[in-house]
Symmetry: C2
Subunit: 252 residues, 2 copies
Amino acid sequence: MPQDGQDVTYPGGLTRLYVEAPLAQGAQLAIGEDQSHFLANVLRAKAGDRVRLFNGRDGEWSASVTTVGKRTVTLTLDAQTRPQTGVPDLWLLLAPIKKTPLDYIVQKATELGVARIAPVITRRTIVERVNGDRMRANAIEAAEQSGRLTVPEIAEPVDLSKVFTNWNTERRLVFCDEAGDARPAVAALANMPRGPWAILTGPEGGFDPAEREMIRRLSFAVPVTLGPRIMRADTAALAAITIWQSTLGDWS
Amino acid sequence: MPQDGQDVTYPGGLTRLYVEAPLAQGAQLAIGEDQSHFLANVLRAKAGDRVRLFNGRDGEWSASVTTVGKRTVTLTLDAQTRPQTGVPDLWLLLAPIKKTPLDYIVQKATELGVARIAPVITRRTIVERVNGDRMRANAIEAAEQSGRLTVPEIAEPVDLSKVFTNWNTERRLVFCDEAGDARPAVAALANMPRGPWAILTGPEGGFDPAEREMIRRLSFAVPVTLGPRIMRADTAALAAITIWQSTLGDWS
């Protein structure tokens, strides 16, 4: 292990990179062009410098820069720094919103610790196209910076009318319901069992009355309210994840 | 009251405008250039159309467009639609961050219901200039869209070393402390009294050890943790506000 290398850091801390390759003692690996560019040209890493790697399966590893090429940086794995850990089994089902708030919600949901993000198309969904690659890139970047050892899965968009077909009814659903008689979220979740859950938040215009009826009839749905003010869709999603993590997730 | 006018709406719902003038039955008022432009040219409002107004003191009013001029739209107040209400007495003390996340945190904190946002300069604060006018504009826009009847006060930046001089010790402080032995936020706040509170979140690099020591010695400080992952400063602030509102604020 090189003794004169430095940890490659940026204002957020030690640089962590998500890779797909298996991670094991002494393994050498050539990282992709974007990550190589980032390490070599943005962070100006030199041979011997150290970064951390994770792949969602093999824990977190310390690795040293071996060679810095024009397009490829190669790394040698030194030692595992943390065993593999996951996040609670929480899915976020969200009606897609405009590009900037969607970037933001993917980043924040990753930091807050969701396992899967699934775009759901509702009748009032205005945005029709969902850029899955962009969502994945945002999720990877946020996972790298938040110390996670997994990247949330980004699901293909599904129509709301179909998402609960073949649903495992043991997976309970937090339904963020602006209208009606739903209970405050902390009270509604306080005595619920842990285990698989999902959170469903609506589009900017809310759910259609027929959609709302359909959701409230689901045996596994728990309608909740998030206070007396009107929140944007992305704010509601973040607030619901925070409350779930604080009552049933790994913040408690 | 005109019978043929329409409610001026946008995707978020009925248009609500914050104004400074007193609001009373039959009052006429000429709104400012930016709001006039927004109503006349963006939303294409016509004489007789209706909007809602609030000023933070006199409740919410329905008003009809009387004249649409090139630079000024005049309105006539029809009726009060909601009595004045406030938000809980919660302050957000935050170390300023880059422009885009700061815009975002001001908007979200307004939606989540804080009464006052106070920039606090710490030793590791990288951003030195804080654009108070921009923060105020973001707060007004978010208040208009979230149904609030008040706009959060934007305080002048203060140095962390001075912010607790002359502090009313009845105002308790949620201290978001990444390091150390702090308790999970919901558990730490569950049996605390309601009343005046503030939330303090750090800069991207965290608090300096001496700052952390100083804060933890404050008799009114309640250190809390927000789960096992590393959050950006803006995410931590939103999560802390959500948990406070759910346990001690107006969401419970």
